[in-house]
Symmetry: C2
Subunit: 438 residues, 2 copies
């Protein structure tokens, strides 16, 4: 291959041209080798923001990023390996529910999860609310837990897709995060490096999601599914509603508690429904013949306690306290609890997920910079959900905080996130659309 | 002023927003102070490529770049200070003619010139063909020559608009050179730092120019004039034809010789005409009432020998051999001369300036990288110009080169740059349009 001229590549993309897969592979290789400077890659990223990358280019970028590190083989894991990934929401604890549930049905779930940033929460932070749970396993430990328990949820290790970390760090400081093909390559490169057979995507749409409108969420889902399928993954995406928070809790220990309720066969209806909907897709990608049979299998695993047992074993395998499955008091609690009362009677017509996500961060449950610590006990518990009748003076939510000042500061804003009307709102579908691979 | 968030500024421009002058000033300041990284500025530059900068933003950028270094005051120079700047062409030796000519009419010409790069030549390289001529004077020496002689042509010093050098170096390696507002700010920041009162622009359009079509040349000229005027310069731009080379020579010593012919009152008609057209504009900006009177004044300065005398004194003041004004043999000559013969009889319908510019570089007259040395004697002498009748076997051009191999290698390509037809082409206007400040 002739020596890469990075300026030519930048100008080609700037002027609306298409790169060959070899050009993209060489660009990423040269960038990691220090032969293409940060300032050249950032100019290229900005050109990509304006000109886009087509499917073939995005597949090449994804695979180049995947190959920048090791790809897990997980040779000792015999079952089909299926993961679920969400584009991020508020109160989204589905990973904690669905991963052990699907594992209880005989499918391996090697899940590499992330941390919360901005208004959205992160699965790793929720797991770390469990005393002792270690999210950092090396590849051998990860495989051993998967072989023994069938499910393991860990953080991204330095060996998997290091190009993604380099690129993301650059995008974060150059205004090039909001670019669909770059988002797609970032998500899928890590998933491919984890050695998956199949992946179910939960693409969230609405106020509390990264994609605010249906058209852009659909475009992202379509590209994720197309690129992932081209790269050899079996894929399905569900577009799901993210206007109101999921379930009744926002905050790490609070959400872990709710996830355990679902694994016990209970929990809020929407959290349970979304768990079953995504779990059904995971089982279908693992080879189950019908959605109806898959759903029945999942419901049986919940009712029988096998899902909860799988969760208990996963926590223990990660060094966490397994009593958490049976006893909520193992989880950390915030010192201060403060109710937010309804100022008027009526029906809850809307709850602004974005606002509540930001309030949870302000209470200490999240972070505004990647290097901040979180308060595991902090967060918001909803006492009223959309469609529910409330009387004036009745609690809409309970704030959990480390001290009274923090709770006090969030009070008015949390109250303002609730819209109370005379009439009940039209019911919203949780799953808006299903997008399959070609 | 609150601390600058470079990512917010990048995203603002990326999304089509406008910056305030204060934001732009702070961005440039922070970049020079190392508080905004190269990779952030390059992303911003690429966003500017797509979204543009409006007049107010470009004025702010220009002034920020100007203020990054010292601005010459030239307090000892009493006359109006007027410069001429060309966007770059092939065979363009007008600066060498017009600067001493206008100085001979009592206008100070403090000219900061550049070097050749790619297919276009540079005034400094042409002056350095004169034995002893020093283009590097410090600010005090520059002012002294201006005070005594009325004209001085020097290279850009490190103190003038250092931000421009930093920015240009970054643009050069990030595919962000071809962006009108960035070009405008680069040109004008240096001119403003030189302490001018007025500036005449020669914006070239055609094959041999940076701008290939009239519309883009006009847009560049319009923005240059508008931004310069806003920044306090009196300005006029001429759009001039750059399909064929100017005059009969391409190459440093060859062009200096032709410039001296013009200063003696001779020279090729187009070189003389362009000199008079641009000189007229300079005198008008210096306060002359009519173009007709200005032109007569210039012609008189040529005929009387005062323009040549001014050139002689400028050369001497710069350490150059003043005999060059009277004796061409002072200039270096290439060892090898090789004619290019017409393959058929007819009329020269076109001469491709871009091709001849590139051939001159190949002969040693120019450079493809900024750090290369040039061969002062190398170049191309035209024996036939557009509209001229030629017979088969008659010379179209003479190549000047250091050795026979170089001449031989350029032979076919130079011949190919001439289009010979049966019929004479339609005459082209040299000055296409005149653009004034508001």
């Amino acid at each position: 291959m002739p020596a890469l001229n990075p300026v030519e590549l930048i100008v080609q993309k700037r002027d609306g041209g298409r790169h060959t897969p070899a050009q993209i592979a060489e660009l990423i290789r040269a960038f990691l080798a220090g032969k293409v400077a940060d300032y050249q890659l950032s100019a290229w990223l900005m050109a990509c923001f304006f000109r886009g990358l087509d499917r073939e280019e995005t597949v090449a970028l994804t695979e180049s990023m995947q190959r920048s590190g090791t790809t897990l083989r997980l040779a000792g894991v015999r079952q089909p390996k299926v993961d679920k990934h969400s584009t991020g929401g508020v109160g989204d604890k589905i990973s904690l529910c669905v991963a052990p549930l699907v594992a209880a049905c005989g499918v391996a779930v090697p899940m590499i999860a992330g941390r919360g940033l901005g208004h959205t929460g992160g699965t790793l932070d929720k797991l770390e609310a469990i005393p002792g749970y270690r999210v950092e396993l090396d590849a051998r430990q990860f495989e051993r837990v998967l072989r023994r328990v069938g499910v393991s949820i860990i953080g991204q290790s330095a060996e998997l897709a290091p190009a993604d970390r380099r690129l993301y760090a650059l995008r974060d400081v150059t205004g090039t995060v909001d670019c669909v093909p770059l988002i797609v390559a970032s998500i899928l490169s890590k998933k491919l490096a984890a050695g998956l057979d199949a992946l179910v995507l939960d693409v969230k749409v609405g106020r509390g999601a990264f994609m605010k409108d249906l058209a852009s969420a659909k475009a992202l889902a379509r590209m994720l599914v197309d690129v992932g399928t081209s790269a050899g993954l079996r894929m399905v995406a569900l577009l799901t509603d993210m206007h109101a928070p999921i379930g009744r809790t926002i905050g790490n220990a609070l959400e872990t508690r709710e996830a355990i309720e679902v694994l016990r066969g209970g929990g809020p209806p929407d959290t349970r429904d979304l768990t079953l909907a995504l779990g059904t897709e995971m089982l279908l990608l693992a080879g189950r013949r019908s959605a109806k049979a898959a759903r029945a299998e999942l419901e049986a695993a919940l009712e029988s306690g096998r899902a909860l047992e799988r969760f208990r074993r996963m926590v223990a395998a990660h060094g966490g306290d397994p009593r958490v499955a049976d006893d909520d008091s193992v989880l950390p609690r915030a010192r201060v609890r403060r109710p937010v009362l309804a100022a008027e009677s009526g029906v809850v017509a809307a709850i602004d997920a974005l606002e509540l996500g930001l309030c949870a961060v302000a209470l200490g449950a999240g972070r505004t910079r990647a290097d901040q610590a979180v308060d595991p006990g902090a967060g918001i518990e909803l006492e009223a959900v959309v469609g529910q009748v409330v009387q004036r003076g009745q609690p809409l939510a309970v704030l959990h905080a480390a001290n009274a000042e923090r709770a006090q500061a969030a009070l008015a804003r949390v109250a303002g996130a609730f819209t109370v009307r005379r009439r009940a709102p039209a019911a919203k579908r949780l799953v808006i659309e299903r997008i399959r691979g070609f």
